[in-house]
Symmetry: none
DNA sequence: GATGAATGAGGATTCATTCAT
DNA sequence: AATGAATGAATCCTCATTCAT
């Protein structure tokens, strides 16, 4: 099993294994949620169980790594779209990419609000994402594409909500989320609407914080 | 062990235990999702493990019972509001009750689309709920309170989505869902909006259907 | 469930229940072996679980009661045949009845050599059976129908052995035991055969006796 | 935990553990039947519970493995004796080995006719055994050592029967089976005996066959 | 660095048995 | 005397994690 034809340097093997593992785990978690066992991921990646733990000290770490992957994709998208001329269209495009990403990843949703979020890195990435999206959102606001009282964090949160709305339909109608994305966007751009009742969320602070300020 | 004030008859004790179990399970599942063990639920209810299984033959049955509880509440609310004069306001009120209910129940969302749904009773209840909500929705449509292309099933699905949007905030801001409910409602009532891109969902048909028609 | 049409005296109800229980247990154990649960037996008898335990303090006691039933049947048969003219034929007839009984009772065989045998009553009944069969055997010996070195206990033990020989066939060929009974009988009547190598067993002494004398 | 003298490589440890497990399971099952728990077997083998399941995916697999062990021993014996000059003596020798083997293994008998038999491997081994024994038997028949109407399958079945006959005595008289083996052999060689009443069994076909042909 | 065997806590579930009514 | 709810020990099995090679 180790007798590969081209061992290359040990370093490169490790890199390759890490890539295999992330790929396998991404697929597995996306398909079947966070309950997939480490054993199965090892198998799918074609490595031994011990190797999984050499790369990711715990299942939680692996989950965090995968969430980071997804978050990075989203971050990239948001950054890429940050300079588009039509900020409203850019925002819509970002949300499309975002919901599409979630729709393909069952674990991501499950994992939100779980111990993985106690990983500082994940929290940071979410924070950063909210920041970049805030830029996007601000421009859309200024261009009048969306109403005044919407923040970047709102947008990020909506990704999960839109996905969740369509989730029960996805098995039968994989594109159903488009319907609810359009609906949400209509809400976002509702011109003369009354101001939203609850204040906008600040930077997302997730995790166990038992210091929940409530209201 | 429970130190109840009135042990009464074994019958009444059983009723009491069932209530304790449902309460414990509802809370536990709501707080920590479907992974809570039967053992913990027993402990929380102050009964022995065996007692849980006397009342609910399997974990899945327990989950189904809890979903039915929630669905029944929603069904009641929808029926109660079915005859209100202002159908738009009634629909909004229903959605308020609905999201509020979900906000208190984490498991409910997880459980949608899971084996518990293979319980005919749960499927039936969902079907019935969609039916009653369709009535509510139709009236709101006729009265011009919401746009034309929204169905009762859309509304039911939105409950989960709105809740999910706010979910990461709930620990810190338990009322945050009100913000996203208002936002969604603005989308629903968007007067001149373009028709939504994806066709409305039919009656919710969940479960294993591997005959996913895709699109 | 208690509202029978004719309660009769409480005494007679108890007798009736005992009979129902023994019948249900006999059938259940015979069909599926000693693993049937007390709960199922209660159900089959149409009584509550508690009632089973009022009549038989433990599952072991119930098993013992059922073994006693079977042993009594065999005892009756042996006594009835004790006065037949043709002792050889009588012995053969007894063995036929005996094996037939076992063939219909899966639990009996399983239960031999188990804790149930620690019930003095069962041990006594086996002892008594060996005694009566010894009479039958002695007459057959005297009449020259079987060889000299066979005892009643040998015969009793053979019942189980013959049954066991055929057991794997019984599902497909319920009468297969007749073949092995005939074969055994041919061995028993082998005229000029050498004396059997191991001394005849004494009175059966079963149970945990850790004082096994070995040889 | 085991204090072995030579831990050697993990591979060799695994082999050693497998051996320990088989030994522990063989003893445990032989002594107390199939009810011994996997936990106890682990303990007896000096390994953790999980290790049992790494080696045998289920209790049934473990039982099957043990039956295969026994069947292999018997198969070896039968093959070894297949070429002896005196086929009658060879058959007797085979039966001696066979019963002796069973006498040391209580589970084997219990397990016959149980789900373990649905393991194709076990069924196959039994079939093969019957085949080899048929050879042995045919030669004994031809040499006039046993009567005409006895098949190899009869012989295999008799092993269990003879053992069962002596079983209640084994604790006190471990060699008692020799008596019943001799008796059975006398039946097998009964020269002028009438033909046996029930047709000989075909190849042993065990398992769920609900197509029981009856008779 | 990789391997995969071993570990053992934990999970769902069953069942004999007890006991309040 | 009968009921059937409650109990909790025991069972099989899974899985994250550790560690010797």
């Amino acid at each position: 099993m180790t007798g590969a034809t081209t061992p290359a340097s040990p370093r490169s093997d490790m890199v390759r294994n890490r890539r295999l593992l992330l790929a396998a785990a991404t697929t597995a978690f996306a398909e079947r949620g966070t309950d997939v066992s480490m054993g199965e991921i090892a198998q799918r990646a074609g490595v031994a169980k011990g190797t999984v733990f050499r790369h990711f000290a715990s299942k939680d770490d692996l989950l965090a790594a995968i969430m980071l992957q997804v978050l990075d994709q989203l971050l990239d998208a948001a950054e890429r779209l940050g300079s588009a001329d039509d900020a409203g269209e850019a925002l819509r495009e970002f949300m499309t990419v975002g919901v599409e990403t979630l729709a393909a990843d069952r674990a991501f949703c499950e994992a939100i609000g779980r111990p993985s979020l106690q990983h500082a890195e994940v929290r940071d990435a979410i924070g950063r994402l909210c920041g970049v999206v805030e830029t996007l959102t601000a421009r859309a606001r200024e261009q009048g594409a969306i109403r005044d009282d919407i923040t970047g964090t709102d947008i990020v949160l909506l990704l999960g909500g839109i996905h969740q709305t369509a989730e029960p339909l996805l098995a039968a109608q994989p594109q159903a989320w488009r319907r609810y994305l359009a609906l949400a966007f209509d809400g976002l751009s509702a011109a003369g609407a009354r101001t939203l009742p609850h204040p906008p969320p600040g930077r997302l602070d997730l995790g166990d914080s038992p210091s929940a300020p409530a209201e």
